[in-house]
Assembly symmetry: D2
Homo-oligomer: 112 residues x 4
């Protein structure tokens, strides 16, 4: 089995052991992604870019893992193939950000 | 190669073709996770839980893929093994939310 | 003095007593708004709309006050007149969402 | 009338003219605060702290006004006195961050 499916299986096993599927509707799972993302960002609040690179790696791993966990539960709920949807998005972003226009600039696609 | 590493490789190839590594510091990648998470949530704003389940699947795939993309770039930057950090977090959450206490309740661990 | 300026003055007094102005750059203040907003949202995670209306009012007051506090510090830093910028935005939104088109629908302006 | 109440009145007039009260439940208003906060943050993504200070002031005004607008609608829905809740939070934060401990440090209260 691939790594992503293995993680989704483990997360669903964890969820089902606690009878939490009833709470995991699409809207709240998306909200959970945002809340976990904010906890990740809190590690860097009031820190310079340089200080942020010195973040405690264990804390970073934990907060990032939480983001992956809820995002994987959302993908799993809808039966999405994460590899496929990310590869498709890379392809689509390649059209929005063609190399010749996007190289070396952080501008948004609608400003290129 | 496993799926997760394949995705990180593709995302880094995309990034490097555009010379974007210079912008991808840890703090801004974390911020990008939050911004993509908010775009995901916008799909459900002012929608009931039932309406949210009827979300356009293509839009959901795209917004969720964006969250995965930036989270994977952040994991890749730090050389994290996503499978490992998520499995570790599941284990840790199992201690915070023991089955006998957490079963069937959406309470936070500090309220159990 | 009007209420908004009074609050900005009090918040800046608080900040300056702690010598925190050095941390309050525009980017981090904006990030703080997002983080406080996520804490506000956490009150409603896994809760239905009906359950959310029964939220503990004191917690809601505190989390919402935190959002206002950082948003006011950001406005104060740039010398914005909050009354003026909100009234201007209402006017602008009136053009994006004309009554005859927007009445009774939660659609975004670009879908009207 | 004070500035804050005037803004809440204008926002509610705008809302009612469009028959939007039906969508403005507490949970979705909180979600809207987060989404508007993310749009505010997007102005600074991939930008240094110095570049962020050079942000387009009109864009900053608009995004910040959107945050205030939804936060004020949420406060108005619950009949909160914004001046009072912010002053109370300042007082409470003064206890969490006593001057002698918090001066010149960006540490969280639980790390002081």
């Amino acid at each position: 089995m691939n790594d992503i499916q293995l993680l989704i299986d483990e997360l669903q096993k964890f969820r089902d052991a606690r009878n939490w599927k009833q709470f995991h509707n699409t809207k709240d799972l998306a909200l959970a992604v945002s809340i976990e993302a904010a906890e990740l960002n809190e590690l860097f609040l009031w820190k310079t870019i340089e200080e942020s690179e010195q973040v405690d790696k264990n804390k970073l791993k934990e907060e990032l893992a939480d983001v992956f966990a809820v995002a994987l539960l959302l993908a799993g709920k809808h039966g999405f193939d994460v590899k496929e949807i990310v590869l498709e998005k890379i392809k689509k972003n390649g059209e929005k950000y063609p190399v010749e226009k996007a190289k070396g600039t952080a501008k948004k696609y609608n400003e290129l």
